[in-house]
């Protein structure tokens, strides 16, 4: 039910996610779930994410939303302010989400990393990121205390 709960927030259905052309919807589910894991919201903490083609991606989560219905009975206990943060987060476009979740993941891996070094690592795989948009997105993320950046 945790996946169903997330799909409800995102205004999506499992059937839509199974359609090949609905990549962007699956993309948004993955990024929203990653944020929830980052925030320590159970049961999303159980998913392992790797920095994949478009940022964090969990094959295990993908398998779960491809099921007819979830085997996971848990509904997340999420505070109102984290829910508000999730809504703010998922209201951004795909490019923003890809950069923002990649920033969070690199920060998770290297907690003391400086922003300049973070940009260098990001540009290894995403050479199209401009300094301006990186700094803007990082600043937006830093303005959210729950993200602890």
């Amino acid at each position: 039910m945790s996946v169903d709960w997330l799909l409800q927030i995102l205004g999506m259905t499992r059937d839509e996610l199974k359609m090949e052309e609905e990549f962007l919807k699956r993309f948004r589910v993955q990024k929203a779930a990653y944020l929830l894991k980052y925030l320590g919201v159970r049961p999303f903490t159980k998913y392992d994410f790797s920095l994949y083609i478009h940022g964090p991606y969990s094959p295990e989560l993908a398998r779960e939303y491809y099921l007819e219905r979830s085997e996971e009975p848990q509904v997340p206990a999420i505070s109102d302010d984290k829910l508000e943060l999730l809504n703010w987060f998922i209201n951004h476009d795909e490019r923003w989400l890809e950069i923002a979740t990649s920033i969070l993941m690199i920060r998770e891996r290297y907690p003391r990393i400086r922003s300049e070094e973070m940009l260098s690592i990001l540009r290894l795989s995403k050479p199209w990121i401009t300094r301006e948009e990186f700094e803007k997105i990082l600043s937006e993320l830093k303005s959210k205390p729950h993200l602890k950046l």
Binding site: S50, I106, I121, L124
Partner: protein, 161 residues
Amino acid sequence: MTRQYYYLDTNYILAYLAYKHPEHFKNVDINPTESRLANSVIGYLTPEKIKMPLFVLAELVTQLKEKNAFVGIDLLIGYFEIAMIKKEDLKKFVEALKILIKDERLEVMDGIIVAHAISSYECAGLLTFDDLLISSRSIKNANEKINGSEGIVITSDPRSK
């Protein structure tokens, strides 16, 4: 000489070959998203701008054998020019490798493939799906040490969004 070639990592060439020749990969676990992307990126860059490092060819042969996928020599080396380490790049290659082998998260063969790409005067980027490579701090450090601000990219898709 400008940096004009992209080098392929083993997982990338496998994904590409699986897209081009699915009949040989029926029993091999290849991610279809990766296959489609590899085909799309290589088509966009054009095969003339892509090389397969000799180290990658060696790893590819081993992996195909392990997977019981016998694709034949024509298919294996018929698509891309083979890249080897040039004598003038050897010092940079060793320097990069010395940095990378200190990172225990990197496999030795990955370190060699990345060091080759970083040290090559002609390499613009390494195409890979390997998460450990595209987000590695030690690779970033080696790249900056050898190439300064004119380093290579290590990515699954170098195209702008």
